[in-house]
């Protein structure tokens, strides 16, 4: 109650400023979008549930529960700007019991957009089942409630453990090795399936036989099984499966509580190295980087940014997500035929690049967030904000270039080397999209800054104003890009798209340099907001 009251007071105080009011407006708009997505999904899933139950195939509810489950678990990892985990250090100052601490963490986790959407969708499924078989409602309610609890706790468990593994250099390295081993294993699936290409249907039937028992013992499969068993009046089996689902919840809670207990005891996930080792390998101070073509201050900022990025496990994980998505789209959707990117391999590079740029907006749109109190240094030093912004932009574009290279290699290995036209269209498209995003990001970084914690998973949440503006800008950028591509397609001249993007890129660069030229003036004007928000 006390925490809820404090948060309410903080909310009321935030409305006193103009920025707070804009933030509230953005929150309402984003809330409306999420609600719309939730309602739309709930209707679709509700109709699906009604169809399966009324057709006497309640076991097929697994087909609805699996997407909900995967979304619930994947969305917080892929959209960190919308997800936030509570900073336990703020709570530990108070005389909370461990039980209360766990409750607060769980309740706070329930405010996540993934949980809100997932809950909407499960309600849709519940209503669909009830529409088809009203007698099933009480049972479905209990099963789906436990299923929701499993999802909610599993998300938090994954967050907590990934945060732990990425929190320190050593565990981060182990995690990276495991991650790449997993990627390599996934890579073997493609050639294997190609090898059995002629017998793909048989292979997939075999895979179906193999996968079905596995999915049946995982939470979505168990929940569907519990519902189907009750519908078929197999009461003992239904209770058994519900018990299994509850067991999942208990086990997940136990694993989560290992992390929560460590946090409750005041664990500090720092990069501290063994003092003895540190003293033995005491290196001198290294010379700073020198980057040709960049001013001294911009080069210093690039160096600093790369050091920051390389020490942030959560950010590094975000960077590899586009490559993971390449694998997912490359393998998924094969119902007797090829997957999405298997059918259109030329889309691999542009889709991956667009996704990489989207993920990068998390950093681009809140340039000073990770610097936190360091913003004071930029304000008291003689460095120009123009140079600082330029350094940050160059660093972020360096990351994008590296990702693009990795994606190109991935596309070559998984599918086939992108055609010259696909490569040119992708690069020219990025030449247009990147400066637009950088210009917008530089402005939003000054107008709507928010302190973020690079070392901790789920605390990179941008301000809601930034998130809303980001949606609008991406809408415009992708809309314009789609128009250019459609025009080129209608004339069946792909080079038209390249020319179109180059013209747009020229305009975008004019806007970018105009914004860059005015950041010093804007930063001076916004210095109070910057220090207030970032030095919290």
């Amino acid at each position: 109650m006390a925490i809820a009251s404090v948060r309410w007071q903080i909310f009321l105080h935030s409305l006193r400023s103009k920025r707070g009011a804009v933030e509230l407006f953005s929150r309402v708009v984003i809330g409306a979008v999420i609600t719309g997505g939730g309602l739309g999904g709930a209707i679709l899933l509700g109709v699906g549930a009604w169809y399966f139950v009324s057709q006497g195939k309640p076991e097929a509810l697994a087909l609805l529960l699996w997407p909900v489950f995967l979304f619930w678990q994947m969305f917080p990892l892929m959209a960190t700007a919308l997800s936030e985990s509570i900073d336990s250090t703020n709570l530990l100052r108070f005389p909370l019991s461990y039980r209360t601490y766990v409750m607060v963490r769980l309740v706070y986790g329930a405010l996540d957009p993934a949980t809100v959407l997932g809950t909407f969708w499960l309600v849709g499924i519940l209503l669909g089942i009830g529409w088809a078989r009203p007698g099933l409602i009480p049972w479905a309610f209990i099963v789906l409630l436990v299923f929701a609890a499993v999802n909610m706790m599993l998300t938090q468990m994954i967050f907590a453990w990934v945060e732990r593994w990425l929190g320190q250099r050593r565990t981060r390295e182990i995690f990276a090795v495991l991650f790449f081993l997993a990627m390599i294993s996934l890579q073997l699936i493609g050639p294997m399936l190609s090898r059995y290409g002629d017998r793909s249907n048989a292979a997939f039937h075999w895979a179906g036989h193999f996968a079905n028992p596995i999915q049946a013992v995982l939470p979505p499969g168990i929940a569907a099984g519990a519902l189907a068993s009750k519908a078929a009046a197999h009461i003992a089996l239904a209770f058994g499966l519900l018990g299994a689902l509850v067991l999942y919840a208990v086990v997940i809670l136990r694993i989560l509580s290992v992390r929560l207990r460590a946090q409750f005891r005041g664990e500090n996930l720092s990069e501290v190295v063994d003092r003895g080792k540190d003293e033995v390998s005491r290196p001198g101070v290294r010379l700073a980087w020198k980057i040709p073509g960049l001013s001294q201050e911009a080069a210093a900022v690039v160096e600093k940014e790369f050091r920051y990025l390389s020490r942030s496990g959560p950010v590094l994980l975000t960077f590899v997500t586009p490559i993971v998505m390449l694998f997912v789209f490359g393998l998924g959707g094969r119902s007797g035929g090829a997957g999405f990117l298997q059918n259109w391999p030329e889309l691999g590079l542009p889709v991956g690049a667009a996704y990489a740029l989207l993920l990068l907006t998390n950093l681009i749109y809140n340039n000073f967030g990770p610097d936190a109190g360091g913003i004071q240094f930029f304000l008291v030093s003689p460095a120009s904000f123009r140079g600082v912004m330029l350094g940050k932009n160059v660093a972020h574009m360096g990351v994008l270039a590296a990702e693009l290279l990795a994606l190109w290699i991935g596309v070559c290995l998984l599918f086939r080397p992108p055609t010259a036209s696909a490569l040119l269209i992708t690069l020219s498209g990025l030449l247009f999209a990147a400066p637009v995003n950088l210009a917008a990001g530089n402005l939003l970084s000054l107008y709507s800054p928010k302190k973020t914690e690079f070392g901790t998973f789920g605390r990179q949440r941008a301000s809601q104003t930034t998130v809303l503006a980001s949606f609008a800008i991406q809408g415009v950028v992708f809309g314009v890009a789609a128009i250019v591509l459609l025009i080129a397609r209608s004339y069946q001249r792909q080079w038209l798209a390249v020319v179109g993007f180059c013209v747009l890129a020229a305009l975008a660069f004019v806007v970018y340099f105009f914004v860059l030229g005015s950041v010093d003036r804007l930063a001076r004007r916004r210095r109070e907001v910057l220090t207030t928000e970032l030095c919290k």
Binding site: S270, D278, E297, Y308, G373, Q376, P382, A383, T531, C535
Partner: protein, 280 residues
């Protein structure tokens, strides 16, 4: 060894005040946090800027260092108008702000290197000075430790090292001794004394009046946004003694301490009768 130039820049004697303000005012809505403040700090002074909590000390130092814009009034640093020649002024000053302005996910050496480069030092000088400063501040033993993992005292020492790496002529310090143990405080004092001995000007705010009394030659006191006293310690002491008989307030030495001068000036003597009886 730290070089003289590193600590003080090129300290040619000059007639103009190191820091001067004219009618410096800062309003936050209805609240006047700093009201018509006219400060004058001569070059080479160790200047203490005192005041009770909320008196306007931090607001003033933020305006003097460019962290906050004044509502009205004028600031001159070494004779240069801060508003017009901001970049030039910033090259001449070093600042340890309240929040320390550190970048937590760099090591101490990386942070100093970054700061040196941002102040325009060449790569070799930056590396040499960073190494010397880390040694002097006793921060060189754990080179791979990130700033975020430093203790508060270590962070203060690093912030001071960063503030002097370019050899500023004026150093602004907001509460440099707050939360610092005796050993770290000793290191900080040693560096500050070396700087003033070589002609640099130090402007600091502090609640630790014993340290201010020991270090500072001149003091200004601000109360509720208004500058209520300014001068050398002797001048302030004489001013208070002219109003109150020495024996009435002075301790065993027969000489008013800075704390007594401060309390007399801001009228902050608390009655022993004030009670919180429930505390036991």
């Amino acid at each position: 060894m730290l070089e003289d130039a590193q600590l003080t820049g090129t300290s040619a004697p000059t007639k103009v005040p190191a820091v001067s303000t004219a009618n410096l005012t800062r309003r936050f809505g209805e609240l006047v946090a700093v009201n018509d403040v006219n400060l004058c700090v001569a070059p080479g002074q160790f200047f203490g800027f005192l005041g009770p909590n909320g008196a306007g000390k931090s607001t003033t130092i933020k305006m003097l260092t460019g962290l906050l814009a004044p509502t009205s009034g004028r600031i001159e640093i070494l004779g240069l108008d801060f508003a017009e020649r901001t970049s030039e002024v910033k090259r001449q000053i070093g600042v340890v702000p309240e929040g320390l302005a550190l970048f937590g996910r760099l090591t101490g050496a990386e942070y100093l290197t970054f700061v040196g480069r941002m102040y325009g030092l060449d790569r070799e000088t930056t590396a040499k000075r960073s190494a010397e400063l880390l040694e002097f501040m006793q921060l060189a033993n754990e080179p791979r430790k990130l700033v975020t993992d430093y203790s508060h005292g270590m962070q203060k020492k690093l912030a001071l090292a960063a503030a002097v790496i370019h050899g500023p002529k004026i150093l602004f310090l907001d509460e440099p001794f707050e939360g610092v143990d005796a050993i770290a405080a000793g290191t900080l004092k040693s560096m500050l004394q070396r700087m003033t001995a070589r002609g640099a000007t130090i402007f600091l705010t502090s609640h630790v009046l014993e340290i201010v009394e020991r270090l500072c030659s001149h003091v200004a006191i601000i109360d509720r946004g208004v500058l209520v006293a300014q001068g050398s310690l002797e001048e302030l002491r004489a001013g208070v003694e002219s109003q109150v008989p020495v024996a009435a307030e002075a301790g065993s030495t027969g000489k008013l301490t800075l704390e007594e001068i401060f309390l007399h000036t801001v009228g902050g003597a608390r009655s022993a009768e004030q009670e919180l009886s429930w505390l036991g």
